[in-house]
Amino acid sequence: MEAKAFYWFLKQGFKEDEINFNSHRVVDLVVRGHPYEIKKLIGQRVLCFTKNQLEIFKEINPTILVFDEKHMEPVAVVPFKDVQKEFKIEITGRTKSVGIPEEIFALAEKLVQLEIEPNISKAFANAMKEYIKNRKELIELREKFQREKVDTGG
């Protein structure tokens, strides 16, 4: 989505050095001093924000660029103050980004298309929960082994 946003800004006439990305900042990017946040559309009208984002965005009112999987251009460009008029906001916990090979991503997409999972993020989260559950004993054994190694100084 970051790449899509980047090309969209170029298409709008902004120069490369005016588009300042930083996923560790309060907003995803700042362009000519204005804050922008990139959001992925979930289903028809759901956007996810963390509690922290909702509080901060009320103050700084970033422009929200909404992307879906299909289109290269944002499906909506809305000031945060108006986002609730067009979208349903869901509050999520903290999230992390992970790089996944495209062929695995396609498998997750298949689960969503077949309605086995509600979205890609949930597909990976549920898969991880199950994966851990099936390896519970092995993990505990390894952790015990690691602790003993530290205790014996080996």
């Binding site: 980004s97 992970v98 495209e102 695995i104 086995i116 990976f124």
Partner: protein, 67 residues
Amino acid sequence: MPLKGFKSVTVPEEAYVLAKRLVEVGLEENIGEAFSNALKEYVKRREQAIKELEAVKTKWKSTLENP
């Protein structure tokens, strides 16, 4: 921006912590691989259900296209 051939996926932090645990005990090389292997196994366990759902989808699609 993800590397070529990769896609960026946002996962809940609690799932990320689980993946990190697998890496820390040496069962997985890195977080991305942990999620990839988890999903592969998840899909494999549902292979039969996926096949059946795909068959139903194809059947409905052809019924709608050729009523």
